[in-house]
């Protein structure tokens, strides 16, 4: 047992405290704000690193620190923190990526007037997210989960004066809240069945055998309800609609929250409560996991399709995020906790890299986000270009040198051996091709070709922004070392097995399949977009080649398959009508009933009033007149001359004296 477990709570607490400290700063104290935030994050990183060490030493290391939050009646509600490979790896990834993003933000947000507030929120977010990771209680996880949601809400709506930002923030909050309600009910159910919300509690926790045994058949429903929460947070179909809109926030926010960490919380949640999902698994398949797989597949494919037709650099990345999250869900569903988390970790690095790269691009292009107006930026922004390309290749799944390649391959491998159905396997193929396609399209539009309007005055970003890019790019590459099948250190670290080096596993049939798919995607895109941004035949320069070829399909995809519109016409409209109806019922129906009863009373009251007026009042009046006359008589003696009163008193005293003398 390492000492760090006793101080695990410090990891989320430090950024949270830093956030509060920043919030109390004046708007002008920009340097202090940034310094505090970075210091908090660095401290969290250092602590995470310290926490990481013990997990290396023991396979399947797990330490918990539980405490009583409060007692109600004579029962106690206990919360706790846990440190295991899952948490430690996540901690390290979140704090490292977070730190990069913090540093990047100093440059990116340098001109913004909300600088201080931004860093406060960012720190707050970081703290909450780290809290999610180390929570050893579903309730504590839920608490941090909600705080993460709050941070996301605040950050998306950071530019308060923009109505679109506020709308996006609202959408994000409400949509995730819908998922959270499922999570909440699932949590209640779980608590009810197992009697505890602690994950690990010396064999009594709800994820340990004793706790799981109490669940029985309800485990599937509980797992699905909890998964519903993950669907909301991780932008899975059908609750994915908020995530692309969330790009209204500043780009570092998109990188941190909506790419690298927060959206991964859903995946993490599923991984954390994986025993619930896999309870009673036959051949690694349960009904809840099947649902997870299908949701993941749908999401991955749908988002990848939509990403093809987007023109906003951040939106493309947003949809790619959604797609990748779907992929992670699939891998959780088919390949167990480790596969999903490995992709999550790798994705965290390269997606943050991509987002920050896009931020750098946007910064360089003076806040232009439309890729059709960029082009040829590789000449102006070499560092950004190189790092971006690394990120792109990692995302596309180029094997060997990029982390994304290995994890993707592992997922494909697992999907291929999934007993219930082969369909996801082939759908995944399509997903891989599409991913490579849209990423290539994007990079061609942005970095290659001719310099279009927004790219004319482009410039490379300052070092404070490029250095984080380089760090993240190195991360995206170096991570591949621990992901290779030859030395699957990370996998075994997460599952708690000991690792063996075996060079033979490096080359497998799947590698070639994967390589072929990626090459296909890249190849098609290169061919198709070789003349993007210039006139080509009867196609004008500002029309996308794909749009030219397939206008109807392109419009369908560009409009996000009209899912938002569908929701607006159905769910939202229905709720609004329900609201109006409730109000109407209140005002007219229920109140009308009351008024009806009132009217009956009034008639009766009129009757009694008549009796009062004529009968009773007259007698009372006469009595008062008499009393008044008597009072007038008495008041005459009171002249108001105090000396006369005093004299009378003196005379009275004298009289008493005389009386006394006479009696004595």
């Amino acid at each position: 047992m390492s000492l760090i477990i006793h101080y695990l709570w410090l990891i989320p607490a430090v950024p949270l405290v830093a956030s509060l400290a920043i919030l109390s700063l004046a708007n002008a104290w920009r340097r202090s704000a940034a310094a505090l935030a970075v210091a908090g994050q660095t401290a969290a990183l250092a602590l995470s690193a310290v926490a990481f060490l013990p997990t290396l030493q023991t396979h399947g290391f797990r330490a918990v620190q539980n405490f009583t939050w409060f007692t109600f009646g004579d029962n106690a509600l206990r919360l706790g923190f846990v440190l295991d490979p899952l948490a430690a790896a996540m901690l390290l990834m979140i704090s490292l990526v977070g730190l990069c993003i913090f540093v990047f933000s100093i440059g990116y947000m340098a001109e913004d007037k909300n600088f201080v507030r931004f860093f406060a929120y960012l720190s707050f977010f970081s703290g909450a997210m780290l809290g999610v990771v180390v929570a050893n209680s579903l309730l504590l996880l839920f608490i941090f989960w909600e705080l993460v949601g709050l941070a996301s809400y605040l950050l998306i709506g950071l530019w308060i004066e923009r109505p679109s930002a506020a709308a996006a923030a609202k959408k994000a909050f409400i949509t995730t809240r819908i998922g959270d309600m499922g999570f909440f009910v699932g949590m209640l159910w779980l608590y009810n069945r197992s009697g505890t919300l602690l994950f690990y509690d010396d064999g009594k926790g709800c994820l340990e055998s004793a706790g799981l045994a109490m669940l029985g058949a309800s485990a599937t429903f509980i797992a699905l309800l909890i998964f519903f929460g993950a669907v909301g947070k991780s932008g899975q179909f059908p609750l994915h609609v908020w995530l692309p809109d969330a790009m209204e926030g500043p780009t570092p926010v998109s990188a941190l929250i909506h790419a690298a960490t927060m959206v991964a919380a859903g995946v993490f949640l599923v991984a954390r409560v994986y025993p619930l999902f896999s309870l009673g698994a036959i051949n690694g398949v349960t009904s809840s996991l099947t649902v997870v797989v299908w949701i993941g597949v749908t999401t991955a494919l749908m988002a990848a399709l939509i990403a093809i037709a987007q023109a906003d650099i951040k939106r493309i990345l947003a949809y790619s995020t959604v797609s990748q999250l779907g992929l992670m869900m699939v891998s959780l569903g088919v390949g167990g906790m480790a596969a999903g988390i490995m992709h999550l970790l790798a994705h965290g690095f390269f997606k943050a890299l991509l987002f920050l790269g896009s931020g750098s691009v946007i910064h360089g292009c003076h806040s232009e986000q439309d890729i059709r107006k960029m082009g040829g930026l590789r000449r102006f922004m070499p560092v950004t270009f190189v790092t971006y390309a690394i990120g792109m290749m990692a995302l596309s799944g180029v094997p060997f040198f990029f982390s994304g390649g290995w994890t993707k391959e592992e997922i494909l491998h697992a999907v291929g051996h999934w007993p219930p159905s082969r369909a996801p396997y082939y759908l995944m193929f399509a997903g891989v091709v599409l991913t490579a396609f849209y990423m290539t399209r994007q990079i061609i539009y942005v970095f290659f070709g001719n310099s279009r309007t927004a790219a004319k005055q482009a410039h490379e970003s300052p070092p404070v922004m490029t250095i984080p890019l380089i760090v993240l790019a190195l991360g995206a590459i170096l991570l591949s070392i621990v992901l290779t099948p030859a030395w699957p250190w990370l996998h075994d670290y997460l599952t708690g097995e000991s690792v063996h080096f075996e060079i033979g596993r490096l080359i497998q049939p799947m590698l070639f399949v994967s390589l072929a798919l990626v090459s296909a995607g890249i190849g098609i895109a290169v061919w198709m977009y070789r003349k993007a941004g210039v006139q080509d035949g009867d196609r004008p320069a500002d029309i996308d080649p794909l749009e030219h070829a397939q206008p109807a399909l392109f419009r369908f995809l560009a409009n996000k398959m009209w899912i938002d519109e569908l929701y607006a016409r159905t769910v939202i409209a229905f709720s609004w009508i329900a609201a109006l109806l409730s109000d109407w019922m209140d005002r007219y129906f229920w109140d009308g009933l009351v008024r009806g009863f009132g009217a009956i009373g009034q008639v009766f009251a009129m009757f009694t009033a008549g009796v009062d007026e004529r009968g009773i009042n007259t007698g009372v009046d006469e009595t008062t007149v008499g009393a008044r006359g008597l009072g007038r008589l008495m008041s005459a003696a009171h002249s108001g001359q105090i000396q006369i009163y005093l004299g009378i008193v003196a005379i009275g005293m004298l009289a008493l004296l005389l009386l006394y003398a006479w009696l004595a």
């Binding site: 002249s639 108001g640 001359q641 105090i642 000396q643 005093l646 004299g647 003196a650």
Partner: protein, 104 residues
Amino acid sequence: MTPTLQIFLIVSAALFSIGLLAALSRRHAIFILIGIELMLAAANLNFIAFWRFAPQPHQPTGVMFAIFSIAISAAEAAVGLAMVIAVYRHYHTTNVDQLNQLKG
């Protein structure tokens, strides 16, 4: 001949009567107040005298009474004079003969 209690009481009675005289026969409100203060002073003299001549003067009861009485009469004087000023502001007179209505 040392003074007896009687003599003190007679002095006190004289003082009291003088106070009464001032309170009864003068028209000015402040005179009335002075008269009242004199009467109170006479009463204090009585307290002290009775205490001093009592069989057991070790209990400082009379002194205590006098102290409290002085404190209270000080309060009375303050409020009384404030009232005189307030009344004067309102009626522009302090002649008590003219101050005989309750209505402001």
